[in-house]
């Protein structure tokens, strides 16, 4: 779904932002570098700025709280089982007396970590294959793109299930690998498209004329210019990866107790929903917040990194 949305939004964004008359203004505006413009455009995007703060906040508490409290989130205490929310334990305890606030914080840490790591893998595979396919073209391109076709035709979630089943259930590393191996096609196609466009550009020709090697041209000249769409896709990809991990853990194939993940906090829903539904609210809300933050951040970055978008002068 995200894939479709991205293309449409980019296209409409491009048409509405097609601006004429920029040339006339050049003399009047003080020189602004690309990154200054990017920052300005990003700051104009109110939701994106809010999303950035929200994401920073989530990451901060996910790092700080579990670091300070150590492994208290696994501690069970039957005398404190099923307590309602209180001052010392803001979210109460579950049926084996674990502090749900500490579990939520640890879960946030685990889920964000897996989300970010999956995106790193997706980026590595996608950028490498996309760069090779776009730069060399020919049979290299053909092989890689047919491979992409195959992956795109796979029922991705079932594929993740199969990988997790084979490599071992309940391991964070396996979850990261499963999400990474199945999720890189969008990044690959974006990078390939940029490389196809840029490989004939003048600055690449110039580098080639100066005797730069293929590897140097790919890594030093084209890649930095081709990264913008990948950054956007990666940010949006965090949302998808966090949801994928949570879904896996929810079904019992990802992170399993005593470890905590946003998905496995909801795993016991059949029982919880009858008698202590309040336990299900915080993890659900947290997942939605993570997804919203990542997608608004991605939207904001997409507009900010697009050089065709106008910056309103102050």
């Amino acid at each position: 779904m995200e894939r479709i949305d991205t293309t449409v939004a980019t296209r409409t964004g491009a048409t509405t932002a097609a601006s004429g008359g920029d040339e006339d203004e050049v003399d009047l505006i003080p020189v602004r570098t690309y990154w200054m413009l990017v920052r300005q455009r990003f700051l104009q995007h109110r939701l994106a700025v809010m999303a950035l703060f929200l994401m920073a906040f989530l990451v901060a508490i996910a790092i700080i709280v579990p670091t300070l409290t150590g492994d208290a989130y696994t501690k069970t205490s039957l005398s404190k089982a099923m307590q309602p929310p209180s001052l010392s334990m803001p979210l109460g305890t579950n049926q084996i007396g674990q502090d749900m606030f500490l579990r939520l914080m640890k879960a946030l840490q685990t889920s964000l970590f897996i989300g970010f790591m999956s995106v790193v893998i997706i980026g590595l595979i996608g950028v490498t294959l996309g760069a090779l396919a776009g730069y060399y073209g020919g049979w290299v391109d053909n092989v890689i793109m047919r491979f992409v076709d195959v992956i795109l035709s796979l029922p991705v979630f079932f594929m993740i299930l199969i990988i997790v089943a084979v490599l071992g259930k309940g391991s964070a590393l396996v979850v990261v690998i499963a999400i990474g191996l199945t999720g890189w096609t969008l990044a690959c196609r974006l990078v390939r498209a940029e490389f196809l466009k840029l490989r004939e550009a003048d600055f690449v020709q110039a580098a080639r004329a100066l005797g730069a090697s293929n590897r140097r041209i790919i890594a030093r000249h084209i890649l930095p210019a081709a990264l913008a769409p990948v950054v956007v896709a990666a940010t949006l990809g965090i949302a998808d990866s966090v949801v994928a991990e949570a879904s896996l853990s929810f079904l019992g194939f990802g992170i399993s107790p005593p470890e905590a993940s946003l998905g496995n906090l909801l795993k016991n829903f059949e029982e919880d929903i009858q008698v202590r539904a309040h336990l299900l609210v915080p993890p659900s809300v947290t997942i939605v917040l993570v997804v919203l933050a990542a997608s608004f951040l991605g939207d904001g970055l997409r507009d900010a990194l697009d050089p065709r978008q106008r910056v309103e002068s102050k």
């Binding site: 796979l154 029922p155 991705v156 079932f158 299930l161 199969i162 089943a165």
Partner: protein, 320 residues
């Protein structure tokens, strides 16, 4: 048209082979082998060696793949084409084909509901861009999109089943009761909603931007300029073209529908392919898992083919 369909079917073959190779390789990475469950004191080493020879497990991997792959496509004629379940020993073909209709009921009903709801919503949001209606629809779509299917499922379960007690929480019909159509519909309602809401969120956003783009076209302005009534321009000129990309969406939604079905079916214990997949992964029932991945891949390929053919059918600009 026929040659185009044929060509697309032929193009699908290498992709199918690719899917098969990948799934087969992953399954073969699994620790142990199918004879492991016979390894106990009572079965002699000789019998196991015989079994390994019988199953062809001593042959090189490519050879195993070819024999598995050729057997796989005989499924309409042989019930043992996909092997036997590790769990209950039943033929995998049988296990899977009895679940496919149940899953299709869920997926197709959700798709129909998605279209009925999201197309009008998307059009309304586009036509009244920046109005309150647009803002509400866009916000709802964003929130709906950010709700993972299991959160949504639990939420619906809590509101409609536990609190309001309007709909049953599991299964396809009430246990110990004569199955009737109204009862079946009551059971279908929550899973379908939980699957459809996420699709609706994505589709209405997509429909909105598609409609907005069409409304900016010159021919729409021309139609308005020559004095056609607004509704006529909207429905006759704009909507028809804005609907075209929705057909592509139909094909592209299949993977997410399948993923959603796996989770939704687990929450509502809807006995379909998704639930079977989850159960089979839990019990390491690899033959069943492998077959479900293959079936899922075929569904996705077929969905895209149908979408492309439909597209050519409604858009005269497309030539085969």
């Amino acid at each position: 048209m026929a040659t185009y369909v044929l060509r697309r079917l032929i193009q699908a073959i290498p992709i199918l082979i690719g899917i098969s190779v990948i799934s087969f390789l992953i399954i073969n990475l699994a620790p142990g082998d199918p004879t492991d469950r016979f390894r106990s004191g009572r079965v002699s080493a000789e019998t196991i060696a015989n079994l390994i020879r019988l199953y062809g497990l001593d042959k090189p991997l490519p050879e195993q793949f070819v024999s598995w792959f050729t057997a796989f496509w005989q499924f309409p004629f042989r019930s043992d084409a996909w092997g036997f379940s590790f769990v209950d020993g039943r033929p995998v073909v049988e296990k899977i084909f009895e679940k496919i209709p149940t899953t299709l009921e869920l997926m197709l009903t959700s798709l129909v509901l998605t279209m009925i709801v999201s197309i009008p919503l998307g059009v309304l949001a586009a036509v009244k861009q920046y109005s309150w209606a647009d803002k509400i629809i866009t916000t709802m779509a964003t929130v709906g999109y950010a709700l993972p299917s299991f959160v949504l499922g639990i939420l619906l379960l809590y509101i409609f089943s536990i609190k309001l007690n309007l709909f049953p929480s599991f299964g396809r019909h009430t246990l110990g009761q004569e199955s009737s159509f109204p009862d079946y519909l009551r059971h279908l309602f929550l899973p379908v909603c939980s699957l459809a809401i996420q699709q609706i969120a994505g589709w209405s956003r997509y429909m909105r931007s598609s409609m907005l783009e069409v409304l900016q076209q010159d021919y729409v302005r021309t139609a308005r300029a020559k004095g056609l009534p607004g509704s006529r321009v909207l429905y006759k000129h704009a909507l028809k073209n804005a609907l075209l990309p929705v057909i592509t969406l139909l094909g592209l939604s299949l993977p997410s529908l399948l993923a959603g079905a796996a989770i939704t079916e687990s929450i509502f214990t809807w006995p379909g392919l998704g639930l079977l997949a989850v159960q089979s992964v839990t019990t390491n029932d690899f033959p069943v898992v492998l077959a479900i991945v293959m079936i899922g891949g075929m569904m996705v390929l077929l969905g895209n083919l149908v979408a492309d053919v439909l597209y050519g059918f409604v858009d005269p600009r497309i030539k085969y």
